[in-house]
């Protein structure tokens, strides 16, 4: 049975007091807290198995390699990928998107081509494409959002053409928490021969993810938002696409052979197998193993249960927040269309004031643009406060949060 009170016992930080109040952590969309199991896995690696991976014959390296490879395997299972060949470990969602931009985009996007990006995106799914378009001269077309914060799906039909090579959008908005219809956009894109790249930073930690069912070509997500350590993230890519792509970075680990030709006086290089072709240099071994432990934790809970719990919290919080006269919530009013994120403002207060006031009571929320400045411009907002929930949050915490909001009013 899913019991957040029991889950909380695994999270040492939740016992912390801030300003003499027990910590209430509602900034999960920025980064999640870590359970003891993940902390222990990291400690165990450094205390018992630490070594570089691959190509060494000694015992420690064998152990480290096995753990690191198993981490890829378990992440593949978690998102229902075909295998670890489709799982590239990177620093996080941002690096995963940049990997696609520079490995795939640099060679496949040229003048006259088009990329479709939504205005709902985190800056990390806008900026790499804008940088690359300046280099390669392709065009970017932006899809807007409706008043309720949902994607303008009709615009995809209007904007897409044979010139479109890739369609990039988030599965869940990091501003409003709205869940986008991936399958619908995937079909539109694939019908026109375009690929899709999904920013899964806010979906993979909170929803069951089935990459084959969703038919995504690339999926990027971060470990630290799903109970894992910072500095580790994942790029999923369909095997047949990754096979055709050239590496993003060159170095050790990603090569099979570097042969010097004494006649041409140049080196001939053969790439390593997937996924190592895209993991140049000594990888972030320990945090990859930490991510595996995080995935195991979430699988034990069941992602359907995680989603259901967050839905219950979101619905409860929105209902009580809307009872406050001076609070405005952005995005869909229906909690089932959202994923544990509530952006809001309190009339007469800046979002930073609200965040500081809540901080007074040990309640952590985000304030600002949340790296979605274009979306804030659409909503005509200077900034917003954002409460975001996860597996260890409770109704009692929301009650305390509402109590402070009412006090602010």
């Amino acid at each position: 049975m899913f019991d957040p009170h029991k889950i909380r016992e695994d999270f040492p930080i939740l016992k912390r007091k801030i300003n003499n109040y027990t910590l209430i952590y509602f900034d999960n969309a920025a980064s999640s807290q870590k359970p003891r199991q993940v902390i222990e896995a990291i400690k165990d690696f450094y205390e018992n198995h630490n070594s570089n991976v691959h190509r060494a014959v000694h015992t420690l390296s064998q152990e480290a390699s096995e753990l690191y490879e198993r981490a890829h395997d378990e992440v593949a299972d978690f998102i229902h990928a075909d295998g670890m060949e489709e799982i590239i470990f990177v620093r996080g969602t941002t690096e995963a998107i940049n990997l696609v931009a520079y490995s795939w985009g640099l060679r496949n996007l040229k003048k006259g081509d088009e990329v479709i990006v939504s205005l709902m995106e985190h800056h990390s799914n806008i900026v790499p494409w804008e940088i690359l378009s300046k280099l390669n001269g392709f065009n970017i077309k932006y899809v807007g959002v409706s008043d309720d914060g949902t994607l303008n799906y009709e615009a995809y039909e209007e904007l897409i053409s044979e010139k479109t090579k890739i369609v990039c959008f988030s599965h869940v908005s990091n501003f409003s928490g709205v869940i986008n219809d991936v399958k619908r956009i995937a079909k539109i894109a694939h019908d026109h021969g375009a690929l899709i790249l999904i920013d899964g930073a806010q979906s993979v930690p909170h929803l069951p993810t089935h990459v084959k069912d969703l038919d995504v070509d690339f999926l990027a997500f971060s470990g630290h938002k799903m109970l894992g350590p910072t500095g580790i993230g994942v790029l999923y890519g369909k095997c047949e696409i990754l096979e055709k792509m050239e590496p993003f970075q060159g170095g050790g680990e990603m090569i099979r052979e570097v042969l010097f030709d004494s006649i041409t006086k140049r080196c001939t290089i053969t790439w390593n197998d997937l996924p190592w072709k895209f993991e140049a240099g000594t990888p972030n071994i320990c945090d990859g193993i930490g991510l595996m432990e995080a995935v195991r934790y979430l699988r034990r809970l069941g992602m359907e249960n995680v989603q259901a719990h967050e839905y219950t919290l979101t619905e409860y919080a929105m209902k009580h927040m809307l009872e406050c006269q001076k609070i405005e919530i952005y995005g869909p009013e229906d909690a089932s269309a959202k994923c544990g994120i509530i952006p809001f403002n309190v009339e007469g207060f800046s979002s930073h004031d609200v965040a500081l006031l809540l901080d007074n009571y040990g309640i952590m929320v985000r304030s600002g643009f949340h790296c979605t400045q274009p979306l804030h411009a659409i909503f005509k907002l200077k900034s917003s406060a954002r409460a975001s929930f996860y597996i260890y949050n409770t109704r009692e915490e929301i009650d305390s949060f509402i109590e402070v909001l009412k006090e602010i009013e």
């Binding site: 300003n19 800046s350 979002s351 930073h352 004031d353 500081l356 006031l357 901080d359 007074n360 304030s367 600002g368 643009f369 949340h370 804030h376 907002l381 200077k382 900034s383």
Partner: protein, 89 residues
């Protein structure tokens, strides 16, 4: 006279269109900092000892009992440092 760094742990420019500054006072100096600021700034409003709405040299700011303050509509960090110096030193 002790330097400003002895009072201030961090200054963060806020994210958002407001361009405000958050000042976080050092934990062991926060009570001293709050006392000095309350002596010099004009109190517009106060909620218990938790929040003080203040003005000083035409700059409006909120001071929190936890040792944080949010300064509004300042041109840049230099302007903030001048105000802080005048308040604290």
């Amino acid at each position: 006279m002790i330097p400003l760094e002895d009072y201030v742990a961090r200054i963060e420019e806020t994210c958002g269109a407001e361009k405000d500054f958050i000042v976080i006072f050092k934990y062991d100096k926060k009570d001293d900092a709050i006392k000095k600021i309350l002596q010099k700034a004009k109190k517009e409003k106060a909620i218990s000892t938790i929040i003080f709405e203040l003005t000083f040299q035409d700059v409006s700011f909120r001071l929190y009992g936890t040792g944080k303050a949010i300064f509004r509509n300042l041109k840049d960090k230099n302007g903030l440092q001048k105000v802080l110096s005048d308040l604290l030193l």
